[in-house]
């Protein structure tokens, strides 16, 4: 499933440890989309900081949205019957985490990981 994403991360020169981390985060984001919105998309892009390179992952869907983002980012909270480690877990795996959501319109999660 994550083979293509892994190729992007390898090309950027991430360490194998970071690649595992990035691929796992992408897997969790994809699971979130599947369990809440059924369909959506995940885009990967390289980002250039002032003196560093990283990967930007944008997971977006047009699902039901999240009414209480603060609650969704709490460990163990889930409305889909999963373990509820998705979003807080992804946040811990990545360097930057941003989420916007509008009830009834969907959710977008943007995360970045910088190359060490």
């Amino acid at each position: 499933m994550a083979a293509d994403e892994v190729r992007v991360a390898i090309k950027l020169g991430f360490s194998s440890g970071d690649i595992t981390l990035i691929a796992t985060a992408i897997s969790e984001l994809a699971r979130n989309i599947l369990s809440y919105a059924r369909q959506g998309e995940i885009l990967l892009r390289t980002v250039d900081g002032s003196n560093r390179t990283g990967i930007l992952i944008v997971a977006s869907d047009e699902g039901p949205g999240i009414s209480d983002i603060r609650q969704a980012l709490r460990d163990g909270f889930s409305t889909s019957g999963s373990l509820g480690m998705g979003l807080p877990g992804v946040r811990r795996l990545m360097d930057e985490f941003e989420i916007t959501s509008e009830p009834m319109h969907g959710t977008t999660v943007k995360v970045k990981k910088w190359k060490q």
Binding site: A2, T20, L21, R31, L93
Partner: protein, 128 residues
């Protein structure tokens, strides 16, 4: 694809279950079925779940492993997880996944040693 499927072999009275590097959800789901079937078929003490090839252990995979270990426990067998790579261990910890009370070992050899010795008396327990 054979390299993406689960291998189950019996060595004496232990099952050695090996997961492929990047199993899809169908393969992960098959872990439970294949393992319990094999437990039913063979008179074994338990199983060593070899995760040394695994590159990604996400929450679904981890939950399936923990649940499978619990089911094997109910059937009277023990599960020992072996060979998790440093990157997978780091990622799983940061992600927040747990494997319940399932015992672990660095290598398959060590897992085989462990499984022939009595445990600490506790059964694998489902995390709340």
């Amino acid at each position: 694809m054979s390299d993406e499927s689960i291998s189950v072999i019996r060595i004496r009275d232990v099952l050695l279950v090996t997961m492929p590097a990047d199993p899809d959800d169908t393969t992960v789901a098959a872990l439970q079925e294949r393992t319990l079937e094999a437990m039913d078929l063979h008179d074994v003490r338990g199983l060593v779940l070899d995760l040394s090839k695994v590159e990604i252990l996400d929450s679904y995979f981890a939950r399936t492993v923990a649940e499978t270990a619990q089911m094997v426990g109910l059937m009277g067998g023990e599960t020992i997880i072996a060979g998790m790579s440093p990157a997978v261990a780091i990622t799983a910890t940061e992600l927040g996944v747990t494997l319940g009370k399932t015992r672990t070992a660095l290598t398959i050899d060590r897992a085989l040693d462990l499984i022939s010795k009595p445990g600490d008396g506790t059964r694998p327990r489902r995390e709340p």
